[in-house]
Symmetry: C2
Subunit: 341 residues, 2 copies
């Protein structure tokens, strides 16, 4: 049986810059039609010039693939409506980081004062610019995301027309919040559908499975799987694929991030087939995102997968992917470009 | 102010063998009067010959320090009373590992059938040989110890005269069990008094803080601190100091174990002083153990510590200690041997 996915989208992707960008961008561009590109470079993307220049570097790195990088700004409460209007054609979303919560997030937000946020968030609502949030407090590592749910609720209540994307959710608490607010959506990564803290630290310590938010409990993974596998219209695939050079992962003080982009579609297919829900995969990897991000244009691509062993490479250049050397049961056997649809 | 500790004991110590033994044994022997030596070598210590030969190698590695290695066997349900009687003079305790639960525990117990265990545990009760247990199930990493409490209770109930030591406890559930059974005791490590999972995986991933059982939640650490700092008579210091070569810690698939032995007394003094309970430290690091293990002889040693900065070395040979390069506020300024007491 062939599984054909039309225009897969990765709604949360780190492409980095310079050498790393050259390594990883073509890998995503090959099998995805587009991706929401995270702005947490050093310094973060917060001006029109920086955004356009980064987009250009990405397109150059992708070569001839028909792949659209959906650009984001690093949220600042000082963005005015005029500024956002001036950049709107090139901007797909804005990403909010609490200060210091993950890689290169030092310049993030240090508090959630509704009145301080109101002008920018109101402008975003009016301009149909979604707000993507890394939702973690600075509390205990297993509680950070669940503690943040009250902030999601506060924002969803105060800005009912703002599309709020809870990025890379990892807990049942976040899943439950989806049902309570019409304007809350979520991305879910591949790795949080597959692993729990047991895989990271239950046997030997596995730095290549260490990420933020950290993988949680089995019951959290179940809650994530449920909404992903049923193709719940409020959740989208976002890999949060976050490459680091091998030495930064396999050392004292290992950086957070799991590199999954080049093997994500193969593993998602395997997971959905195993759960007899492969007919929902198209919604999870593309259709839901197109409906939620109703302002994006998506280049058409057709990706065909079949049951065929695929051995995950040891490395892509100097980046070790998730499940390196393991065998996945599904492989991409054909990728067709069909022009814009 | 000087803090004088008389005959400190480490009631849970890994000395390994060969080169590693030569590196780490002198470091414990210098400031401790004795230590319970874990038997999980490859193969594990399970015969009188192996035990005596290992004891000899340890004493040789310790040189002229007056330090007593309290030897243990790796628990097997096949040990007979005759065998235990024949080894009793050289045996201080027996250590039980569930199969596969930690480093070199593959030959451990794969089930807890009271009737299968009865002959050996009855003999141990009669011979006053304590049973030390690594109490974890093979469940989810954060739940393994709490899930094991019911097994502690089953054993404590069925063998009321057997001294059962819950080794390196890390949870409030284990602390609470201490009060329910007269014959349950516990060791607590230095690192579980100091860190939580946040320190291991809340920022960057810290392999040198990765151990089994894994550090738990803040409320668990509070429960451990309470009984340690009050000098609760049922708890003893056991470092579980577990050296691995640097390359085995800083790599993909990092081994479990924190190396603390040479800096444990300095850090314990700092902790107890900070909490204004330094007068309870003697009970925690020696007196409680002497009362619980009332069959051991303890060489007398007097260790004097003072408030003086001590920078933790980067390495001891090829072993990286906990908090390498950090400054501790207390230092050992004098160690006196006073002959047996």
């Amino acid at each position: 049986m062939s599984i054909i996915l039309t225009s897969p989208l990765d709604m949360h992707l780190h492409l980095r810059d310079e050498e790393m960008l050259s390594t990883v961008a073509p890998l995503s561009a090959k099998s995805f039609s587009g991706a929401i590109i995270m702005p947490n470079l050093v310094p973060p993307i917060s001006t029109k010039e920086a955004l356009l220049s980064y987009k250009e570097r990405i397109l150059k790195a992708c070569g001839k693939e028909n792949f659209t990088p959906y650009m984001t700004l690093f949220f600042k409460p000082t963005y005015t409506k005029e500024f956002l209007e001036s950049i709107k054609d090139d901007l797909v979303a804005i990403k909010l980081y609490p200060a210091g919560i993950t890689t290169n997030s030092e310049g993030g937000l240090s508090g959630f004062d509704v009145e301080e946020l109101r002008p920018t968030l109101t402008a975003m609502s009016e301009l149909n610019i979604p707000l993507c949030i890394h939702g973690e407090t600075n509390g205990f590592v297993m509680d950070r995301e669940a503690e943040f749910v009250s902030i999601y609720e506060m924002l969803a209540t105060n800005f009912p027309k703002l599309k709020i994307i809870m990025e890379h959710i990892t807990t049942k608490e976040s899943v439950e919040a989806l049902d309570r607010f019409e304007n809350l959506y979520a991305t879910i990564t591949l790795h949080h559908l597959l692993i729990t803290l047991d895989d990271v630290a239950g046997g030997m310590l596995q730095p290549h499975l260490f990420c933020k938010p950290i993988a949680k409990r089995p019951e959290d993974r179940e809650a994530l799987r449920k909404v992903a596998l049923e193709g719940n219209p409020k959740v989208m695939f976002g890999s949060d694929s976050a490459p680091h050079p091998q030495h930064a992962k396999e050392s004292c003080g290992c950086a957070a991030g799991v590199f999954t982009a080049p093997i994500a579609l193969q593993l998602l297919t395997e997971l959905f087939v195993e759960h007899s829900t492969v007919e929902k995969l198209q919604a999870f990897v593309s259709d839901n995102a197109r409906r939620i991000y109703n302002h994006i244009k998506v280049p058409t691509k057709r990706v065909t997968l079949e049951k065929e062993p695929f051995i995950v490479p040891t490395k892509y250049d100097n980046v070790v992917p998730i499940f390196a050397t393991k065998t996945i049961n599904y492989n991409i056997i054909k990728i067709e470009k069909i022009g814009d649809r």
